[in-house]
Symmetry: C5
Amino acid sequence: MKIYTVEKTLVSTNRIASMEHKPLLVVAEKPGGTPQVAVDPVGCKPGDWVLCVGSSAARDASGIKGYPSDLTIVGIIDKWEVNANGDTSS
Amino acid sequence: MKIYTVEKTLVSTNRIASMEHKPLLVVAEKPGGTPQVAVDPVGCKPGDWVLCVGSSAARDASGIKGYPSDLTIVGIIDKWEVNANGDTSS
Amino acid sequence: MKIYTVEKTLVSTNRIASMEHKPLLVVAEKPGGTPQVAVDPVGCKPGDWVLCVGSSAARDASGIKGYPSDLTIVGIIDKWEVNANGDTSS
Amino acid sequence: MKIYTVEKTLVSTNRIASMEHKPLLVVAEKPGGTPQVAVDPVGCKPGDWVLCVGSSAARDASGIKGYPSDLTIVGIIDKWEVNANGDTSS
Amino acid sequence: MKIYTVEKTLVSTNRIASMEHKPLLVVAEKPGGTPQVAVDPVGCKPGDWVLCVGSSAARDASGIKGYPSDLTIVGIIDKWEVNANGDTSS
């Protein structure tokens, strides 16, 4: 799994029906990093450091079997710090 | 999931039968970036910023179970801007 | 999906039985780029620009359910040009 | 599969139910490298060099069928050394 | 699929039961490159250039359905040469 920081909500009104209304969050591997989008079955807020699963596991992890996701948040990390050089420590 | 901009339609007349006639769009992570090809079950147009799913989820997301795709558009992003340095904000 | 150019045939006489005798082609994302190998159910020739699918979709796309492939050609692109800088246009 | 070194335990109290209480370990491809998180069904300790499987295989390898993992430790490597330049030898 | 050169055997006595005793080989995309580990159902030796499959296809390609692998050797390449600059030709 990979560690991401939550940046903000993504709004996509015109989406395929099978995505239903699950919240979509913009995440990045470090603040300001390349944005990716994860499904959030946990209930996170911007600034949280979270654990995300990818590959086929991301589908069921959303809470709906076979959900169309390849990146799903599976937990909020209790303590995760990133220093100025981007080095992390928990 | 990843965020892409739609560039143009891809024409591939000689394709395997199971691809049927689903529209194929050339997309890139930023304008002029490395081109990839996504199946479009949503109905996008060049210039749209879209959300794409990969991995095994891309197959069913096309609207046909088990479709031969590893990158499928699942939504159009309501608001997504990229400044001159390629930094994005929604 | 990704776009590749077909470079040549790959010969692997000593292969696992489930690969049967499907043609294997060396492909690259640009001429002279890092070589990868794709299964060819379409019938391509060196110099063709082709569309390849990866992930679990590559297996059934070969024409044999569950075939041991993670990269399969699914179509020949009608028109795809790459200029001296490697920029592409169709 | 890829080779990682085990760095420390990751604590994520607020996690999706299907993750149960399987131990999560922070791992990296080299000491101080980009941290990733693997599920540990083997019982490893910091400093161990381990073999991890990804993709859909990571799910069942955890010991629970369909577990929400995309990176699972499948073995401790008997002997693996990394010199100052990061070159490895077993 | 990707092309690798076989470097050596990997010994991991403490491994999950479902890995059984299938041979594990350290492989790299070029001599001295980043080491990865592949399951070998073919019977290769150091110095062989081999074709490896990844993703979910790697599991059944091992010879055991659902085997915990994400990289499996599926064939030995008959002729593959790499010149001093790392350029390859078959």
